[in-house]
Symmetry: C2
Subunit: 301 residues, 2 copies
């Protein structure tokens, strides 16, 4: 019989991790935390978490350890680096990585943890800071069914769409599919906005006519209005989008899958990065097409 | 004071025109019709229309003439060819083209009609045969406000999203924006389906996790499930999608706008056309990526 709730350790207290920890605590789950830098720890302590002195110490205090950090090497370091969580994880405990990292690295980490009788789930999320704060993240879970059941109370505290998509690594694959589709939708948005603008048609009228029909997308409904307001603050930063597209293109190459539009969007974002826009929101993609067309999209046409 | 309803003539009784005429008649509007071939005429007569012997005769019987035919030359022929509608249109009457054609040709036709004191609206539609039958088309209208008001009872009989997007030609520009976004969304759908499949993840699970979030689109929700069922029947035929993308790319070239993803999708559809798939539905785009990856997307992974 699984004890519910398990004691939870949480590593990675950035924009996403902080509100996720707060939601765990608000759902009656005890959480001990570690983070590379102080501000994240202070925020988690204010929300009611307890501090541990290393990833290893977090793991010693916990039945389930959750990480949400930036990239594959970060997860690897937190698990298997000096004072890494793997040293503190007891047999029968569960490791859940909610970062977006490589599916292949994920399967490798899971194999190494299995040797210690530690189960692993990959459970990357979508929904951004807003979804993390509201507890409405989409969570794409890879791993064995028993571990998914064990983790469900945690997932339900943090998200509202929880889909068990397959074995370990499948969560990351689905997240990459999500990033592929979303990134291409940003280019679709950019092409139709710039076409309307240069043709002298009010892009706001275009969006009104197009968004609710067969050419509609979340991006068109939610990010195109920000373009009309010339608001390029992140939502989701270009540099993180680029990291995810690199992961998707690398996975596709290993698999022998051609992703021509994903590669195109990745290249166009490179142009923005070279102009210092890496911390801006992904909707800034429109500026690559604007600069080629010599036009600026704005309300009123 | 505008007489309501005006007598309406309708030219073009294909998959879209037939149900549109039926909806006009069901809303108490008298319609006389002409079509290039008999089956469309028989269908319209069965719905209560009257037959005229030429486009010119349709125009003589009518205060408003509506066309919905395939391409720019078809509209031009029906208007200004032998026995063309322009010969029958009286000063003060209104011509509405609901085809998807070139914005530049549209402006040219409008200028030629204006010399005869005939107003023109361009009012292309989206929503397909289903929307035409249900009277729920989206209608993107370009032209002067007075003519739009005059035509509104007709539009409301045929559609439920009616947006006046700008002057003559603007409706066609917005329709091309719609086709640009929709076509690119088809490629986004194809890339994420093939990536999931080749990675060994059930694409149905991927769609379940992805469709309702920030990577969602109408195409992903409505056409991806058909791909999982290997159902490539049209919805919207590849050859018509290609006609619309040619129009979009030509308009963009005239304007000096680069549409790299639109051009990419257009090329991939060429490959399908060369294999004889021009009458299949646009969701068959996925087969171009499947053939490159040596995999077939199917439910269950």
């Amino acid at each position: 019989m699984v004890t519910h709730p398990d004691r939870v350790g949480f590593i990675g207290l950035g924009i996403m991790g902080r509100p996720m920890v707060a939601n765990l605590i608000q759902n009656g789950i005890a959480v001990s935390v570690w983070n590379r830098s102080r501000p994240g720890i202070e925020a988690a302590l204010a929300a009611g978490a307890t501090e541990a002195e290393s990833p290893e110490a977090v793991a010693r205090d916990s039945d389930i350890v959750v990480t949400i950090v930036t990239d594959s090497p970060d997860v690897e370091a937190v698990l298997f680096g000096p004072d890494g969580a793997a040293n503190g994880l007891r047999p029968g405990s569960l490791f859940i990585d909610m970062s977006t990292i490589s599916p292949a690295v994920t399967r490798d980490l899971a194999a190494r943890l299995a040797e210690r009788d530690v189960a692993m789930l990959d459970a990357p999320v979508s929904g951004g800071e807003g979804g993390a704060t509201a507890g409405t993240l989409s969570i794409m879970v890879g791993g064995d069914a028993h571990s998914v059941t064990r983790a469900r109370p945690l997932f339900e505290a943090m998200g509202n769409t929880i889909v068990h998509v397959g074995p370990v690594g499948a969560g990351q694959t689905v997240k990459l599919c999500n990033q592929v589709a979303g990134a291409i939708h940003l280019l679709a948005m950019s092409e139709c906005l710039v076409l309307a603008q240069k043709a002298g048609v009010d892009p706001a009228k275009m969006l009104e006519a197009v968004s609710s029909g067969a050419a509609g997308s979340w991006m068109l409904s939610n990010l195109a209005p920000r373009v009309l307001d010339r608001d390029f603050a992140p939502g989701f930063m270009i540099k993180l989008q680029q990291k995810d597209l690199r992961l998707a293109l690398a996975a596709a190459q290993e698999l022998g899958v051609a992703l021509p539009a994903t590669a195109l969007v990745h290249q166009l974002f490179h142009a923005l990065e070279s102009q210092g826009a890496e911390d801006e929101g992904t909707q800034a993609l429109v500026r690559t097409l604007e600069s080629m067309a010599g036009v600026q999209v704005q309300r009123g046409g």
